[in-house]
């Protein structure tokens, strides 16, 4: 019900500029050669966010945000507190209504399929799965039950074998979760909880993973471990949208990056370029002001970069 209401609202806001010609409403046209080519192109596109505006009642948190995450890539979204990063992920996953928010305008699609206005379960069924900020594991349930919960909305055949395969993959990636399987998840350390949160999301066998500040509150060792894991997950074929305040870590992983500032995309470009740009170095890597910093030495200094002070 909620979803429909939200969609209706979205449509109302959408109506002045009717749907753009290159993006026709799904079932409108009969399937022809042109449509097929378009569909194939859209399927390649991965996640596409176009002119997105979203907010919470009177509060506008995102304005005219457009970004793309091509299939198979890692894309980073950087920004300070309150920039709208989590709002962006909530808009993709369809969970804004849990915060009494909604999409005011614009569109989100994945592989050509429209996600904006869809129910969170439909988004998961499309293969787009989010690991929320602050981990949000089910602390009162065991580690094994958390993983089981992750498989509840899995795409396609929810067969036992598919779930068992997903579990094997997760436990190979995070052996510690196998050791702690029967323990209550609330008793895990912060780093282990983050592994569980990622593992739980992987149980849904995602095509695309949305990570909201996965290194938040972790010691450098644990953060590095998460970074390695993200790299590995991507190498196994999962597309990743990585939201981070830890710009150094995010830029080392991503191919492309966007910088959000007060709800708008302030900068975007290839990660290496952003890492080298003066503005990003000064504002997000906290090193540009140091006159002694060697100009253009970003790649070499990257491991030593500080966290963006926030």
């Amino acid at each position: 019900m909620e979803a429909r209401r939200q969609e209706a609202r979205t449509d109302a806001h959408d109506s002045p500029p009717p749907a753009e010609p290159r993006d026709p409403p799904e079932p409108a046209r009969p399937a022809g050669p042109v449509r097929t080519a378009e569909a194939a192109e859209a399927a390649e596109a991965g996640l596409v966010v176009r002119d997105l505006a979203a907010g919470y009642g009177p509060v506008t948190a995102l304005r005219g945000v457009s970004l793309e995450v091509p299939r198979g890539s890692v894309v980073a979204v950087l920004g300070g507190n309150g920039a709208g990063k989590s709002t962006l992920l909530r808009a993709v996953s369809g969970t804004l209504r849990f915060h009494r928010g909604g999409i005011a305008a614009g569109e989100v699609s994945f592989g050509g399929r429209r996600l904006s206005g869809a129910d969170p379960s439909a988004v998961v069924a499309c293969g787009v799965v989010q690991v929320p900020e602050g981990r949000r594991i089910f602390a009162r349930m065991t580690v094994a039950e958390n993983l089981r919960a992750g498989a509840l909305g899995a795409r396609g055949a929810r067969g036992r074998r598919a779930a068992a395969e997903a579990r094997d993959r997760v436990l190979t990636l995070f052996p510690v979760l196998a050791e702690r399987a029967r323990q209550r998840a609330g008793l895990l350390s912060g780093g282990e909880q983050q592994m569980l949160a990622i593992g739980r999301a992987l149980m849904a066998r995602p095509v695309m993973l949305l990570l909201d500040e996965p290194t938040l509150g972790l010691a450098p060792m644990a953060a590095a471990r998460i970074a390695d894991t993200v790299r590995e997950i991507n190498a196994q074929g999962t597309t990743v949208l990585l939201v981070e305040q830890n710009a150094a870590m995010a830029l080392s992983l991503a191919r492309h990056a966007y910088v959000l500032e007060v709800g708008e995309v302030a900068l975007s470009g290839p990660a290496a370029e952003l890492a080298a740009s003066d503005e990003v170095r000064r504002r997000y890597l906290g090193i540009g002001d140091d006159p002694a910093a060697p100009a253009g030495g970003a790649p070499a200094t990257r491991p030593a970069l500080a966290r963006w002070p926030g």
Binding site: G94, T95, P120, F138, M141, R148, A149, A201
Partner: protein, 296 residues
């Protein structure tokens, strides 16, 4: 001593029935964070269907129909009211359920009128003797059925996908939604299961030694509220413990009424609420609860 044992068996039996009602109350609270004040009317609806149908289709079919009807009414209340209003606060929804309760109970008591409807159960007024202790057969059946249903429910809650989805939603609805759990389904399932359990409870509240289903049955069902609340609104264990405490207290106080004459007549009806108040004074979240009712 014999009297005490008889009272104890009866108390545990009625307590198990209260536990069935309280369990439904708790799962609705866990799945939707709504305190369901319409629970007694779900129970009345189930019992009413059994009472009306058993002469024509037989007891067992009527019981199945009553359970299905109460489950359907529960699911319908969820679908038509709770789900649509899910931006409203839980406190507002709790008040809405009072409205639902008034509408349903008024309509059902109007239909029942001054009648006392028999439910046509096969146990009638037979009494079983266990040594010196004699107990109504209905009480033993009630105990066995309630125990079996509670065990089945708890196993399902622990081990099935439905149970995992339910607990995940109860703990963090947004995180559960991010796992693809459909909240509407979980919440509707909770209401339906609660309705079904309430219908079974209705049967055992109306059989011997109670004369049958009448307009007072809803009041009898109300005694399960203190059971749920003193156990802890969000705890299934609490529902069981609360049901037993209330059932045993009520039966003992009623049984020894003559010795407790200073409490006045009808002390048995009041005792459950007194026990609840005392427990809440000592443990505001209930015996096993983690959320205080104030949170509602």
């Amino acid at each position: 001593m014999t009297t005490f044992l008889e009272l104890l068996v009866n108390g545990v039996s009625i307590g198990a029935v209260y536990a069935l009602i309280a369990l439904g109350f708790v799962i609705i609270f866990r799945a939707t964070e709504v305190v369901n004040f319409a629970h007694a009317s779900l129970l009345l609806a189930g019992g009413y269907v059994v009472a009306r149908l058993h002469p024509s289709i037989g007891f067992w079919a009527a019981l199945a129909a009553g359970v299905a009807a109460a489950a359907a009414v529960g699911a319908l209340v969820e679908f038509l009211i709770i789900r649509r209003a899910n931006t409203a606060s839980h406190g507002v929804l709790a008040i809405v359920t009072i409205g639902v309760d008034i509408v349903l109970t008024t309509e059902l008591t109007r239909r029942i009128g001054t009648d006392v409807l028999a439910l046509g159960d096969p146990w009638r007024d037979r009494v079983v003797r266990l040594g010196p202790v004699s107990v109504a057969e209905t009480r033993l059946v009630a105990l066995a059925v309630a125990a079996a249903l509670i065990a089945a429910f708890l196993l399902a809650f622990r081990h099935t996908g439905w149970g995992v989805a339910m607990r995940a939603t109860a703990e963090d609805a947004e995180a559960a939604a991010l796992m693809g759990v459909r909240r509407g389904r979980v919440s509707m399932g909770a209401w339906a299961v609660a309705g079904a359990l309430a219908a079974v409870a209705a049967l055992f509240l109306c059989v011997f030694p109670t004369p049958g289903l009448d307009r007072g049955t809803a009041f009898a069902a109300m005694k399960a509220f203190p059971a749920a609340i003193l156990g802890g609104l969000d705890s299934t264990t609490g529902a069981l413990a609360g049901g037993l405490v209330i059932g045993v207290t009520e039966t003992l106080v009623t049984g020894y009424q003559n010795d407790l004459a200073f409490l006045g007549r009808g002390a048995g009806d009041v005792a459950p609420f007194l026990v609840m108040v005392v427990v809440l004074l000592i443990r505001p979240a209930g015996l096993f609860g983690t959320k205080e009712p104030a949170r509602v």
